[in-house]
Symmetry: C2
Subunit: 214 residues, 2 copies
């Protein structure tokens, strides 16, 4: 862009940092935490190892930033669907779980890294923190459903914790269904149905559980 | 014991190793993985650091043994209740979840270490492996319940994964209910009720969810 004023040093640094975090996220998604060394990330970002250390003091600090950025985006998307999706609280719960599951299945490597893959303790601590955020958004919609008389009386915090754990566990099994095709659709349907059962919903999207069959 | 033949060297080594693993488990339960250094474990076991290394080549190897031993015991107890407890599959599921929850709440520090606390990647890998074992025992009882017509049609593997994740998540919140007293009992009741809902049970121990109220 020869005719534009060169961006300020701060802008360039911010852009470089952004590029670095994006590339590091791709490395983590493809190769896992253990293989996302500073050397590997530097190579992916087309930077020197020294430049990486200009932005992050350690591999751990970079890993924490990758985790926060990616998890923060997922919890924001989920929260938005649960709060502002269409329909009543039960329909929004079904929608939110479905959207979350599809996103995770389309980004299987990243989802596994975020939800379950063995990682250094600093990432483990972030994971516990983010699980609290997931629980908060689920608790809100469950509470709404109970208040509206659509869900039976229950402790919304416990159901929210259960949903967070249940959905994470179902999605991270490396042996689970493929990322697309009928099997993937079936997994999403089962997961939505299980989530609605878990919250005690008696209506909603429960295609796999006809009332009169086993 | 002056009149008895001294035990063979192998027996003495095995007893010392057993004592070491027990003491290490207590240190992990009280202080967490990060603080269970070889030095701390040696002090707790009344051994020299060198003796600890005679039994385990690294802190990591000792941590893995602590994890396997303690988790193995919990999954065995759960499996036994789910398979051989009294009642139909739904009643056994309620019983198993209740027993597992009470055990975890009575050993809060250990349960947190086993289920969720940030730990080195080697322990994280063991955790994934043990979650598969939990899922297998839950899947068995859910499948039995579906076959008996007590539970709606569902993918027992998915429900089992959901139960594993849900129960773990509910139990590891450091802000959750205390280890004893009415609040602890309420948490166990809620957890059992949620588990039965999750599996689609319409009978069983669901004290907190009257059908006709919200």
């Amino acid at each position: 862009m020869p005719y534009r004023k060169p961006p300020a040093v701060e802008d360039r640094l911010a852009a470089a940092r952004e590029h670095l975090v994006e590339q590091a996220t791709s490395v983590v998604a493809e190769a896992g935490w253990a293989n996302a060394s500073v050397t590997a990330v530097a190579a992916a970002a087309g930077m020197s190892v020294g430049s990486v250390y200009q932005h992050f003091p350690s591999k751990q600090a970079l890993a924490v930033e990758v985790f926060r950025r990616a998890s923060g985006h997922e919890v924001d998307v989920l929260g938005e669907v649960l709060r502002e999706g269409s329909g009543d609280p039960v329909e929004r719960l079904a929608l939110g779980v479905g959207v979350f599951a599809r996103r995770a299945m389309e980004r299987r490597g990243l989802a596994h890294a975020l939800l379950a893959a063995p990682a250094e303790p600093a990432v483990g601590r972030e994971r516990l923190e983010f699980r609290r955020r997931y629980r908060a958004v689920f608790a809100e919609v469950v509470r709404e459903g109970v208040d509206a008389g659509l869900l039976p009386r229950q402790d919304p915090e416990i159901t929210a914790a259960a949903l967070t754990g249940a959905i994470g566990e179902v999605l991270v099994d490396p042996l689970a269904a493929p990322a697309e095709g009928p099997e993937a659709g079936r997994l999403v349907d089962e997961l939505v149905a299980m989530s609605l059962r878990c919250a005690g919903a008696t209506h909603g999207t429960t295609p796999t559980i006809p009332e009169d069959s086993r």
